[in-house]
């Protein structure tokens, strides 16, 4: 008789998974699996849903009061700030964020070598963002190719921008997870996550190449190299494994690039939404 794994029994406990009827019969007949299942269910029965502290009717208003002064200006066009002017503030902010990240992850004695490698990567990347023009603002492309904003290239680009921005956010979180992983440890969940991201990334990169978003494709390409490394590393990582992985991520300034590109795409998307919103407003006013 073949037994059921812990995972099957956990899913069974939660009413999920396939072969539920088979499992039920097996549990009646097999003392070993029945014992494991009792163990799982008695553990989970101890984890009660916590009582959530009360929040009164005015709570929504209190939250609003706390956040209202922190709301950003609506539809800030940061993209044009980047491309038209020097945009130093935005870059400085990103550079500071990145430096903190490195300082947090690495001890001071190793900082110098890493910082040098990463600085080269960043300078090249930033220079590329300023002096190459593959990523035209979305509005330009729509105006020349699709006056109604609904033609295939415009639509494809629009979908890609939103999807890649989300994809980069998720990748950033996964990479941050790896950067913060404790050692020795099990990174198998992160590896599965990286595997999913890798599949998606390849599709988006191909799309980006097809529609001429070369800088997006380049960042995705860099990202994929790290994802592949994560996927193929052992699940039980030693301090040395993780350190090597982190060094390569840092030397390529990957988190920095991912963050910058994600910001850019979000802002392009915001610019696009603002452009979409204004005709609707004026239509409503005249009708």
């Amino acid at each position: 008789m073949s037994h059921y794994g812990e995972g099957d029994l956990i899913l069974y406990y939660y009413g999920e998974g396939r072969r539920r009827h088979d499992i039920e019969r097996h549990l009646d007949a097999c003392p070993a699996c029945a014992a494991t299942y009792r163990d799982i269910s008695s553990t989970l029965a101890m984890v009660d849903v916590p009582a959530v502290p009360e929040r009164g009717d005015q709570y929504g208003l209190e939250v609003w009061q706390r956040i209202r002064h922190r709301l950003p200006e609506p539809q800030q066009d940061v993209w044009s700030k980047h491309s038209a002017g020097p945009g130093r503030a935005a870059w400085t902010e990103l550079a500071t964020w990145w430096r903190r990240l490195v300082e947090r992850t690495f001890r001071a004695d190793r900082l110098a070598i890493l910082a040098a490698a990463a600085t080269i990567a960043i300078v090249a990347f930033v220079a590329g963002r300023f002096w190459s023009t593959p990523s035209k603002p979305a509005a330009t492309i729509t105006a020349t190719q699709a006056p109604d904003g609904g033609s295939l290239p415009g639509l494809r680009q629009r979908i890609l921008i939103g999807s890649v921005a989300d994809h980069l956010d998720r990748s950033e979180r996964m990479l941050t997870d790896i950067m913060n992983a404790s050692v020795p440890g099990d990174i198998s969940a992160e590896q599965r996550w990286a595997e999913d991201l890798l599949t998606t990334s390849r599709l988006y990169r191909q799309d980006a190449v097809d529609i001429g978003e070369r800088s997006v494709a380049n960042v995705l390409d860099d990202l994929e190299r790290s994802l592949i490394e994560i996927v193929h590393s052992p699940s039980q990582v030693t301090a040395a494994d993780l350190d090597a992985m982190r060094r390569r991520i840092d030397a390529a300034a990957l988190l920095f690039k991912v963050r910058v590109m994600s910001n850019e795409l979000q802002e392009r998307e915001g610019t696009r939404s603002a452009g979409d919103a204004s005709p609707r407003t004026s239509t409503r006013k005249t009708s």
Partner: protein
């Protein structure tokens, strides 16, 4: 607020109308707090998540598909904000101690507990909280969504932006760690009490 009214408020909020956004904040704050509290396990962190989630939602309103459900979209933001906050806390904790957070293997729960104190449910609950606190942010989030929120593995994957397999294994790892951490409680409970009935 009926569906049409809600759609109108959303449309105005998307165009940067802060009064409309205020209506959304007032309407959803309590739900957001409940999820944030379950995800983070403490009131102060939950309050931080509530604020950060609405700020993030405001910034990302342009990316919200008007056909989608705003509540579902916001739920996803809150879940991810909670994970981010737990990660940031863990990183600060690691930095302060110069070593990783304790793992399930070296938690005090592995000691033999005092049977008398065990009788108090407060003690059980404290140990459960401790065991939950030792999960990784991702494991804790996936477990909370499955165990407290009753979300399916597929929904957890979509909510946290993971594949189904990663979501499933995060839940499995969480349960494995909880079994290990709560093992001493369980054997005592089994000796002293009638065997627990399974949930299903």
């Amino acid at each position: 607020m009926d569906a049409a009214e809600a759609a109108a408020v959303l449309a105005r909020a998307r165009q940067g109308d802060s009064d409309a956004f205020r209506a959304l904040v007032e309407r959803h704050s309590r739900t957001v707090f409940r999820l944030a509290f379950r995800m983070t396990g403490n009131e102060q962190d939950a309050e931080d998540v509530v604020q950060e989630s609405f700020l993030r939602a405001y910034r990302q309103l342009g990316r919200f598909e008007s056909r989608a459900n705003f509540g579902t979209w916001l739920y996803r933001i809150v879940a991810n904000c909670s994970v981010d906050l737990m990660r940031a806390k863990q990183a600060r904790h690691d930095q302060a101690r110069g070593e990783p957070l304790e793992t399930a293997a070296d938690m005090p729960a592995a000691d033999t507990p005092d049977p008398q104190r065990l009788a108090e449910s407060a003690e059980i609950s404290r140990r459960v909280q401790h065991a939950l606190g030792a999960l990784s942010p991702l494991e804790r989030a996936a477990f909370t969504l499955r165990h407290y929120e009753g979300r399916s593995i597929d929904e957890i994957g979509r909510t946290l932006g993971l594949g189904t397999s990663a979501a499933k294994h995060s839940v499995f790892r969480a349960v494995k760690k909880l079994r290990h951490a709560l093992q001493p409680l369980r054997s005592l409970a089994n000796r002293g009490l009638a065997p627990q009935e399974s949930q299903r």
